[in-house]
Amino acid sequence: MSADLRVHIGGLELKNPLMTASGTCGYGDELGDYFNVSILGAVVSKSLTLKPKIGNEPPRVAEVSCGMLNSIGLANIGVQRFISEKLPKLEKLGALLIVNIAAKRAEDYVSLADALAKVSFVRGLELNLSCPNVKEGGIEFGTDLGTLSSIVKLVRKVFPRTLIVKLTPNVTRISEFAKAAENEGADGVTVANTYVGMAIDIHSRLPRIHTVTGGMSGPAIKPLTMAKVFETSKAVRIPIVASGGVFVWQDFVEYLMAGATAVEIGTALFTKPDAPARFLEGITDYLSKENIKRIDELIGSLRVNPENVPHLKRN
């Protein structure tokens, strides 16, 4: 008998902890070329804004050692076209949908949440309070505790289903932000978005990303986000969605052991668009070999004495 892979975030049951990361699989519908998206725990769609956004000038992407920088600037078709054009496709594909939203003003988050609350196929929201690549708002919300709290509170009022807050890692102590989200009624936190990074083409002396700095993702950031997931798991009781640098199924298991309830696959999709299907096979095999009956037994199963951790002791 195969293991029970189900996990829960708020009232939402995911058939397994595999999710896609926002912005790394378009609106989710195009993944269907490479595997059946209904096998996923959840599809998280590209950050939507109230109005369509054309995004930043190129170059928007650059490769660095074991990672990449991006500065897409939230290019997206806007919430209305998403609802009319993309939702029917995703419904047909049998995806469980979590919609990621971003805005410059608190009111806009509320309008977005309000619009999406009316669409029952949208099973959850992921609030992007952490995009490092837009000139106003974006990361600012995510680095100020008060602003974060007030946005979560407002959105919580209008969105009754699962609400996840995606945090920026570019802060001194991410667990404080996770606690603030929990206090305002978030059902989960995503740890974390990309790290502010930069690279220069030394021949032209130009930055390799038009906005100079961009968000760094990929295997290079995995140990950093791992530490942040662990820190957060010691601070909150709500589920943690890990996001950062997953490239092989073992990374998935590592995040669960560090305390995550679900894990997003981002940059890996660019190289391996069928990664979720492969990971699911790898994890299923692993569970059966290790004779683990329920995947949630892995969550936070790291064998560790928190006393050993200088990083935590200081809390």
Partner: protein, 259 residues
Amino acid sequence: MPGNSVLETAITIDTLEVANRTFITRFRSPKIACMVTPGQFLMASFPETSDPLLPRAFSVSDAQEETMSLLYVAVGKGTGRIAKLKPGEPVVMNGPLGRGFPDMKGGTSVWVAVGGSGAALIPILDRAARKTGTEITFYYGARTGAQLVNLDGIKNINHATDDGSKGFHGNVVEMLKEEMKKGRPGQLFGCGPTPMLVAMKKGFESQIQTYLSVETPMACGMGFCQGCPVRKSGEGDYYLACKDGPVFSAADIEFEVGR
């Protein structure tokens, strides 16, 4: 219309160094080979390492039955690795991707300007032209003769070199302008470095149906990342090079001016 793209583990057949730092590698890749149309590309990746991390984009240079070839200039980590593949070694290919050149219709004439690694497109375009009975002529430029790839069996190639060491003395756009004094093609295709494409757009788009294959940095090649914008003419909006291109009608796009 292009079919769906697939992930295929291609098997290296052999690699030939065909010019200075320039290679042709052939692969057994039956699924992609049978679907690809001229101007489409694929993303090659190296699953056993995270450095290089992202897949690399290559136009398919030729495809016949189960065999497909890439023609590339070894400039960095990814191309360097491909050039070192031993016969029998696998590499993961995602393709065919994007929209290629418009289907050729017999009886028309097509001129193709190529520069640098744009030469990759000569074999596949030539094959398509022969199949449809289209009259095709290539104008192939490089800095110097040593950089020109000798493509066996393909006639109708006119060379241009900046230093005059082979063929026309000057760049390929200057050569086209000379040739245009004598006659004009039904369609003009271009593939090569961006400055060449900029000059082609400026020089010819108002006179001839011109299609350009653009190169931008790409992270995914599949429309997932929004990393490859190409500005739409007249609008503030963008196409995606990987989904809407890499081949565009010159009239539809604008090139970024220097930052």
